[in-house]
Symmetry: C2
Subunit: 247 residues, 2 copies
Amino acid sequence: MTPAPEPFATALPANLLRPVRGHHAFEACVEQLATAIRLGVYPLGSTLPPERDLAAQLGVSRATLREAMAALRQAGLVQTTRGRGGGTVVTLKPPTPSARAAARTTPEQRADWLDSLAFRRIIEPGAAAMVAELGVDGEARAQLLAAHDEVAAATKPAQYRQSDSRFHLTIAALTGSHRVIEAVTSVQATLHEMLLAIPQLDTNIAHSDDQHLAVVRAILDARPDRARRAMEQHCDDTAALLRGLLT
Amino acid sequence: MTPAPEPFATALPANLLRPVRGHHAFEACVEQLATAIRLGVYPLGSTLPPERDLAAQLGVSRATLREAMAALRQAGLVQTTRGRGGGTVVTLKPPTPSARAAARTTPEQRADWLDSLAFRRIIEPGAAAMVAELGVDGEARAQLLAAHDEVAAATKPAQYRQSDSRFHLTIAALTGSHRVIEAVTSVQATLHEMLLAIPQLDTNIAHSDDQHLAVVRAILDARPDRARRAMEQHCDDTAALLRGLLT
DNA sequence: AGAATTTGGTATGAACTCAGACCATAAATA
DNA sequence: TATTTATGGTCTGAGTTCATACCAAATTCT
């Protein structure tokens, strides 16, 4: 029989379906919390939210969250005390002291990293432009400046890394958009992974203060295009470095 | 006791933690497949990939996928036949014929929709610019033109909706970036929801062919900035309409 | 000092999901 | 026509995750 003519000829292959979840909820929790800590969302010495809250935020049962916490505890990232006023505090021994570089980077990993860099080049400049367009009032202005000062003042590589992440996350947060925040967080987390796998360039990357400053200025001056360009430049430079060093 | 000075003063509230998964894998599958069908990824009359493949693509066991398929079948979106050459074909009775508008839009829904529009204004223009920058070879060029022709030729509102989605998804696909594709898919899915809830404007929105054309031209001419602007304009106009009609 | 409150620690049964094997059907092929 | 093959349909036991209690410790308030 003659097949009915397909309404659409174009293929649009099914790349569009995305995995519905990353199995093992507790592993995902460990990952998110660990990166949040390493990105400086929860700085050294600070107390994490109570288990019940964290579980809610992560959309996970408390039982599952506790498994994750146990892992973090065992990894030496946090310590826990009981009772009111107790909780879980960040101890963060230097990031994965020597166990890093254990896992060799697979080709898929590499591809995913490149993908992340491409995505970043869209989302972070977009976020910067959006903030510049929204404008920043007193409170926001202070946050932005504080975040920038933190980066500028950082000396040690590890400290610089955290401050840098926090700077980018601050810009994302200023957009006020959940999706933008999530996207930037994800991108920064991947970036962090990459830098862990390529230790030697912590130093090389540190001279991007000018670019950070340019972004901040453009945002404060309410110049979206300039902010976008500046952030684009920043992303491009970082990406070039990383691509070059990816085996 | 004097609390140890926090290393960082800035708050960076924990909006950064995102739910680790949307419970009930099979519900998520239903959602993804249903939107994929309604967005025209699997056009009317086409055959879905075999269950085993779909399960793999969605990162889910076949058992779970089948539950989802059963739901789709029961909803009248697809029909299934056995044996070689069989499979599951899209029947798609007009989108949720009259059962729609059943759920009133909650305030959170509304907020999420606005968030999606904001995110869209970053990601879709960014994708367009990226494609323009990458350049489009013969194959890609053909796909893009075909997608555009489809939209331009569409007459009935429902058909226009699908073609429009496919047009935007095609651009995303041409970036070659998983993350970009996923972001645009998600945004288009939300857009689709909104349009279902606000039926009356199917017509109003239909005169955006000029803007589509402008985007396509800019991409083919390898003018990233122009492509971005054109897509931005398009997003802004659509968003303005939608925002106005959101109760 | 005693009560209330916040916080982590533990336990249990139900529901969901997985992986893999095997069955049934119908088209394609030899 | 007989065989192969691609596809959906079914079953089962193990592993996760959930929801919901309740217990234990330590701080704060009365």
